[in-house]
């Protein structure tokens, strides 16, 4: 090998490493190990398509694994993954290509809770530079735990307008549905925990 070729090869390896192109995308072993061959193939197609669209793929894989763990039939798993991919695309379109991946999954949750694309955009505009993953998640949680969508949206929008922090959004949820979120508090060992059989009063 000539001197120039060697350095060219070295440069390519370094460039690949720096652009994170080293990991090769192939069949996800978690899917093939846990799903039937048919379901695995179909889910993998969804994952590949999502990757080509610039959508996060891990939520799709987790959705499929969740379905398998819960004993769902193949077709239900595939439909759930397809629906999630479609919803991720809707949120990505609403929030724009520059939206971080961390905003997309909570975005889907809030979409399913009743949020419109306009709501997503408004929240993003209110929280410029702060991220909307937590407010979107709180919005979805409030609705999922019994609050009407209009009331939940108004609460979240009001706090966003005031420039509330992620911790304040978590506190808003805790106040509304009575479930403490350990992530907003000090590390686990000092945390008091709820008891089973005594769900939060506001749980539906």
């Amino acid at each position: 090998m000539r001197f120039g070729s060697q350095w060219f090869c070295g440069f390519c390896v370094i460039l690949m490493a720096m652009t994170h192109a080293v990991p090769l995308h192939s069949q996800d072993i978690r899917l093939s190990a846990r799903l039937t061959a048919s379901a695995s193939t179909q889910v993998q197609k969804q994952v590949d398509s999502a990757r080509a669209e610039g959508l996060p793929t891990e939520p799709l894989i987790q959705k499929a694994l969740e379905g398998q763990a819960k004993g769902a039939p193949d077709d239900r798993i595939v439909i759930a993954v397809m629906t999630l991919r479609k919803d991720l695309r809707v949120v990505r379109t609403a929030l724009g290509p520059e939206a971080p991946e961390s905003d997309l999954v909570p975005g889907v949750a809030s979409l399913r809770a009743g949020a419109s694309r306009d709501n997503l955009v408004e929240l993003r505009n209110l929280r410029r530079g702060a991220g909307i993953a937590v407010p979107l998640g709180v919005l979805a949680d409030l609705v999922a735990n019994g609050m009407g969508y209009a009331e939940a949206w108004n609460s979240v929008r009001e706090l966003a307008t005031k420039g509330g922090s992620d911790g304040q959004f978590s506190a808003l949820r805790d106040r509304a549905i009575g479930a403490p979120d350990p992530a907003a508090l000090p590390p686990a060992p000092s945390r008091p925990r709820g008891q089973p059989g005594t769900p939060s009063p506001s749980l539906p």
Binding site: Q6, I14, A17, D141, N145, D166, P180
Partner: protein
């Protein structure tokens, strides 16, 4: 002037001539050997340089990969938070935790029994996770201490946790 002769009568002169001719012959061989030696050393030098270049390129690539790995993994590692999950199930023989953080694998995060409660602490990165407890290998039990997950595509109760930065 006397004509030149191949054989000399004078033995002394003859020995001198023989000596000179031998030196001439030796001188020719020396030149060849020197050139051969130079060629050989040049080849060795080139081989050495090639080896060094390969090692250099490999080391550079390894360093780049190491930097890439460190650069990618460090910030994540720095932002991991320990989160404790607890459920009270004194009669159960075993409880596990399944969720987005462990590939929904019932064997990945078994809980430990302490005074009738089952507990496990997991290091989680900031984000939103769906999860549930599996009690006795059969019963799916949402975490009563945390919000119910907004939607479940598979008809089983699920909880949600948000880990903040």
């Amino acid at each position: 002037m006397m004509p030149e002769k191949d054989s000399l009568d004078d033995p002394v002169l003859e020995s001198v001539v023989r000596e000179l001719r031998a030196q001439e012959e030796w001188s020719g061989r020396l030149e060849e050997r020197v050139l051969e030696q130079i060629r050989s050393e040049t080849a060795i030098y080139r081989r050495k340089m090639r080896r060094r270049r390969i090692i250099g390129v490999s080391l550079a690539a390894a360093a780049a990969l190491a930097l890439w790995f460190v650069g990618v993994s460090s910030p994540r590692a720095a932002s991991v938070h320990p989160v404790r999950f607890t459920v009270r199930a004194p009669e159960s023989s075993g409880v596990s935790l399944v969720g987005d953080f462990n590939n929904w694998n019932p064997g990945a995060s078994p809980l430990r029994k302490v005074n009738g409660s089952w507990t496990v602490t997991l290091p989680l990165r900031p984000g939103r996770y769906r999860y549930t407890f599996v009690v006795g290998g059969r019963t799916w039990l949402p975490d009563p201490a945390r919000p119910a997950a907004p939607a479940d595509d598979f008809g089983r109760p699920t909880s949600v946790i948000t880990v903040l930065n």
